[in-house]
Homo-oligomer: 431 residues x 2
Amino acid sequence: MPNELNAPADVHAVVHAMGAAARAASRELARAPTAAKNRALEAAAEALVDREKTILAANARDVKAARSEGHDDAFIDRLTLTGKAIGAMAEGLREIAKLPDPVGEVANLAYRPSGIQVGRMRVPLGVIAIIYESRPNVTADAGGLCLKSGNACILRGGSEALNSNQAIAACLAHGLKAAGLPESAIQLVDTPDRAVVGELVVLEQFIDAIVPRGGKGLIERIAKEARVPVIKHLDGICHVYIDDRADAAKAVAIADNAKTQRYGTCNTMETLLVAQAIAPKVLPEIGRIFAQKKVEMRCCPESREILRKAGVKGAKAATEEDFRTEYLAPVVSIKMLPGIDEAIAHIAEYGSQHTDAIVTEDLARAQRFLREVDSSSVMVNASTRLADGYEYGLGAEIGISTNKLHARGPVGLEGLTSQKWIVLGDGHLRH
Amino acid sequence: MPNELNAPADVHAVVHAMGAAARAASRELARAPTAAKNRALEAAAEALVDREKTILAANARDVKAARSEGHDDAFIDRLTLTGKAIGAMAEGLREIAKLPDPVGEVANLAYRPSGIQVGRMRVPLGVIAIIYESRPNVTADAGGLCLKSGNACILRGGSEALNSNQAIAACLAHGLKAAGLPESAIQLVDTPDRAVVGELVVLEQFIDAIVPRGGKGLIERIAKEARVPVIKHLDGICHVYIDDRADAAKAVAIADNAKTQRYGTCNTMETLLVAQAIAPKVLPEIGRIFAQKKVEMRCCPESREILRKAGVKGAKAATEEDFRTEYLAPVVSIKMLPGIDEAIAHIAEYGSQHTDAIVTEDLARAQRFLREVDSSSVMVNASTRLADGYEYGLGAEIGISTNKLHARGPVGLEGLTSQKWIVLGDGHLRH
């Protein structure tokens, strides 16, 4: 496979061949014993540690080339590996090995009046293509998660990280081989041709799902062109609504944490909604924290007035567009509302169905918010930053999905599987 | 809405308006109490019974028009309603009312080490468009299932059934109104313009899933054009594999039932696979039954020879193409194989991942077949004809899905929902 790919060959033929090899490998992997998959993960982890120098050397070549091509510091930062990062990748694979195997799990097997037993068995999706940008650790994480969930995968990383990705993929291949599993269960596309992505996303015959990881531009392009189902993450316009029955101290702490714990993540709060009756009590303190942390506040007239009166400086006027914006930066929109009805309506209108939280001590309002807000994660008295595979106990996540069908929210091993029906009879017929 | 649709208006604008109304209604429906949804279903059932004469008169107009347009008997048969059929529709709605409400069901709520409780809540998909052909009973069934699962729906039936569908949809509207639910929760498209379908399948903004019900041509067209996820059913090339450790009597009965209980259904066996060692014992009897029931047999050379020697007449030679064909008719392909490995490989190569069964008394082989055959329903010692929502205990089904993501196999209320994450904290932050 690698030889074919290095050739300046017909991209279509190359991708087709990888797809066919992945499909064949997926059948072997679907029936692979849990112990063999774990052995492969552990051997790959060992190889990562053993080959640290080789991987760092490969990465240094990528970083040098990226610098000479004029990529910015943030890009170089995402691309650069360290000994610690390689150790973390190895540890990540070992953690995946420790997770329970979802494949073959049978749920709800029960007798029906006809005498048959009917239940559902969890099965791999088949072949998953992961399309990602400059972070080389995705190679290990995504490969490990697909392997454990019994899926063959085709990894298509950024061309700038090709040397690093190849060095990491070689460790995964070593693990597969050590466990007697087909090496084509994890294939890395090593041609930089951009047409590869276009070919992958329409290869319905061999690929069951696409997981794009990267900027919004990449994801939108893939979603637009894909014929294969895409497990995707689009905007994260997350809200915290402070209800008038909120505990003020919790409200302030959650608003602060949801906005400032990290700015560039998808589960960071972008809009703070505050009930009118509590706004004068909580907004000044929140405003002072934001001002002190240099978070730009874009406010509705009412909230701006409250901040102004309280002597908080720098609150600007928000535009309609601000409430539809995922800043991914130290900027926040603030809006005052009469109460929970308007908050739920605002989130339905302006939100992106990602993660939204209410701060309230009122049980009925908490229940209403949980039921009525249609987002992949809905929270009560907790920071939106907690929307995360590790926090949720998935062990590891391949991404966060904003799809409504199949997997929603953080996607771990279970999101890479589906359930088939199984029927056990003893000569049962339809009458 | 109906007035707009009767106008020779811009189809795009009309469909857009229906979508917007459906989205608004979906928000109300998502929070509707179970009792209100059940009341609506019962009132609709009552209206169906009360208005039997009106519905039959509307149907008679459709049937008359269809006859004058030269539609064949099978078409007229699917289109025609009777008092009994209307009673069955009403009973179907009452049965849906009796099913447990899937919306709001919380699963796996558990404490995480951080102190937050994390679980999943079942929620409606939102807005579902059902695109179907000539059977008017789909209007009641699909409308009822969407309503109970908290989804607004847009129903697009065949233009030949428009009068019938309108009369039925009026009963559903009556039910919604009686229960204080928004009437636009169930909207029937009443313009016959074919461009409507093309508009619906790309209306991502307002529609969360499309369920096409009809012939393969319709489904393929929709799947090809759709930007909205399609819960679809393509081929049903179902297999029964008779293992050499099968009980011969069960094998004969299952092969007979799977093929001949009904010919035109998607879960009917199209290919019979028989292990070499048992073929001389079971094939002659099965062949005699098929010959007697006038089922045309298209055989591999080995199975044909066994039938010939046993004096079973009429077994023809199968072509490669026969094994890839969904006959939906009294025709069956027959192939002899060495054993289970080859059977699993044949199904992977020629099957359509719909429903496949093994007949065996051997536990290990049964387990292997269940795990390794990647179909939406996999069975042991049972007829493929049992792959059905009622047989599986779903109560009712909106269709059978051959998708791998989201719902697989018979799709009932649960298949019309998804799960969101819910997080309960008490001021919890991310550290």
